[in-house]
């Protein structure tokens, strides 16, 4: 009799499997990589790391190695994509980060995908659609914030805002600290016109169509218009696919500007207090590796699902059978096996005493008369 092997999987494992199948449907291939990378890669690309604290060790040949803090850097460095051929890969890997609150390192299980090559708005749409479907696979109640770093860079370039000021500006914008942004702009001697445009742009947030129209009204350069056109094209395709409803256009999404330099997006599901999906366009990183290509991808941090599904995990076993010292082991075996064979393979545990830490759906007592149900839904 065929057994339903997925019964043994936790909900997050089932989601991971479903997503892998989804990514393969779009032609993405599984990318497997080593656990370690030479530390030099991260030293040379520190700006592209979300978390600069890295676990290092010396290999036997003296090379300084690192436990991966990031997957995209390794994929971007080793990509076989070129001007004529794109590479579409997905991965399921562990990365290692320093956690701020506990002050210790943690292992993060990351599922993500990357599309690299000469890309266009259709490629960007596909990645955003997959990001949306990833969130939908996790929860019906999900949201995605989308923005465009190119819009901001073109605005600040057009207003001749110096590089030194931009980091502080982006920090205020990312935190929606408009009151502090105003003070910062005044203190930096930015013209009232420029300050007004930056404040307006920083406050642009809401439904896609309305926010896009408001953003167009402050576009002062071709670079800004190009960014908005790209957003509009991608949004149109997402609408056609029917997965644009949960999207918010929010120009305060400007984190990781060193990493992303085009479309940027973040995904949330209700019940998880922070974003669990991060993605965007990172052509700048490819150019740094001497590959003038486009690249877009996202990663979802599966550890966050623990918070979401912790309360939703069901019983550990479907049935728990208790026997006593008078039990006939041969009859017990027969009963347990017949129970296991039911419904595609029930999970049945046989014990002499009731274990303290096992959740069961049904509790049976094995007697001379056979199995007698004595409890439910522990």
């Amino acid at each position: 009799m065929e057994q339903d092997v997925t019964r043994a999987l936790r909900r997050e494992e089932k989601i991971t499997l479903a997503l892998r199948a989804l990514y393969e449907q779009y032609g993405f291939r599984k990318y497997r990589m080593g656990k370690f990378e030479e530390y030099e890669l991260y030293m040379e690309n520190k700006n592209f790391l979300k978390n600069p604290n890295i676990i290092t060790f010396h290999d036997l040949d003296g090379r300084l190695m690192a436990l991966k803090p990031d997957v995209t850097l390794s994929i971007a460095k080793n990509t076989r994509a070129n001007a004529h051929s794109t590479e579409k890969v997905y991965y399921l890997e562990n990365v290692y980060w320093l956690e701020k609150q506990s002050g210790g390192y943690k292992e993060v299980n990351q599922l993500g995908l990357e599309s690299i090559g000469r890309l266009d708005a259709f490629s960007y749409y596909e990645v955003l659609a997959l990001a949306q479907e990833t969130l939908a696979a996790i929860s019906d109640s999900h949201r995605m914030q989308v923005s465009h770093i190119g819009f901001w860079v073109a605005l600040l370039d057009g207003l001749s805002i110096e590089e030194g000021l931009r980091k502080a500006l982006f920090a205020c914008i990312h935190g929606k600290r408009l009151h502090e942004l105003k003070t910062l702009l005044e203190g930096a001697g930015v013209t009232p016109f420029a300050a007004q445009l930056i404040l307006k742009a920083a406050s642009l947030c809401g439904t896609f169509t309305d926010t896009l129209a408001a953003a167009r009204s402050i576009a002062i350069s071709n670079g800004m218009t190009d960014a908005l056109n790209e957003l509009e094209t991608v949004y149109g395709l997402l609408q056609q696919k029917g997965c644009a409803e949960q999207m918010t256009l929010d120009f305060s999404l400007v984190n990781d500007c060193d990493y992303y330099d085009g479309l940027i997006f973040q995904g949330y599901v209700e019940g998880v207090p922070r974003a669990l999906l991060f993605g965007g366009y990172y052509g700048k990183l490819l150019r740094k590796f001497g590959k003038p290509l486009d690249a877009i991808g996202f990663a979802v941090y599966l550890n966050e699902l623990d918070v979401l599904f912790r309360a939703q995990h069901g019983a550990d076993v479907d049935a728990l059978i208790l026997y006593d010292e008078t039990a006939d082991f041969s009859a017990l075996l027969t009963k347990a096996e017949s129970l296991r064979a039911r419904g595609g393979g029930l999970r049945v545990r046989v014990e002499k005493k009731l274990p303290e830490d096992v959740r069961y759906d049904k509790l049976y007592r094995f007697t001379q008369n056979g199995l007698e149900e004595v409890g439910k839904d522990a």
Partner: protein, 207 residues
Amino acid sequence: MLNIALPKGRLGDQVLSLFSKIGFDCGGIYDGDRRLVLESPENGVRYLLVKPSDVAIYVEYGAADIGVVGKDILLDGEPDVYELLDLNIGKCRVCVAGPDDYVEDRESVLRVATKFTKIAKDYYNAKNREIEIIKLNGSIELAPILGLTDVIVDIVESGRTLKENHLKVLETVCPISARLIANRASYLFKNDIIMQITEKLQGVLPQ
């Protein structure tokens, strides 16, 4: 139900009164008692009264959707939250203070007592001044009096405590006031009520 984390104490009382003004009172059940949760089901809000330094943690980790917290806590902890409003209440300054007769010895490493280690570190890093930080959690003023440190970095409101301990303000690090913060996910999933509260608060803030 919107969970709102507020700092216990005087600032919390002021904030409850502000929320009451905009129609989100806690049903007249708050009279300085020791309860930590005040619910107002008719307004759809629940107030959580927590230690001031924990407000940002409650909000960042989603136990509260929004909260009110001093800027000092935000600067020192850098929680990943939205900071939606400066409420213009609970105003004070983070200052460097030292004994009345203090003269800085610029050849020595400056010893600084503070509970705001990040603020102190950032301030002196920007000045390229080498310091040794001694983290204390209370009665910071004692440190320079006993020779434990040269100066302190602490909150100064009226300056009375400093004066009574023969200390004076040497430099102002930054002004502080209470801020309305929001959890990033809550901002998306409960946007209507959070924006409603933000806009209403904006209308009743002291200038």
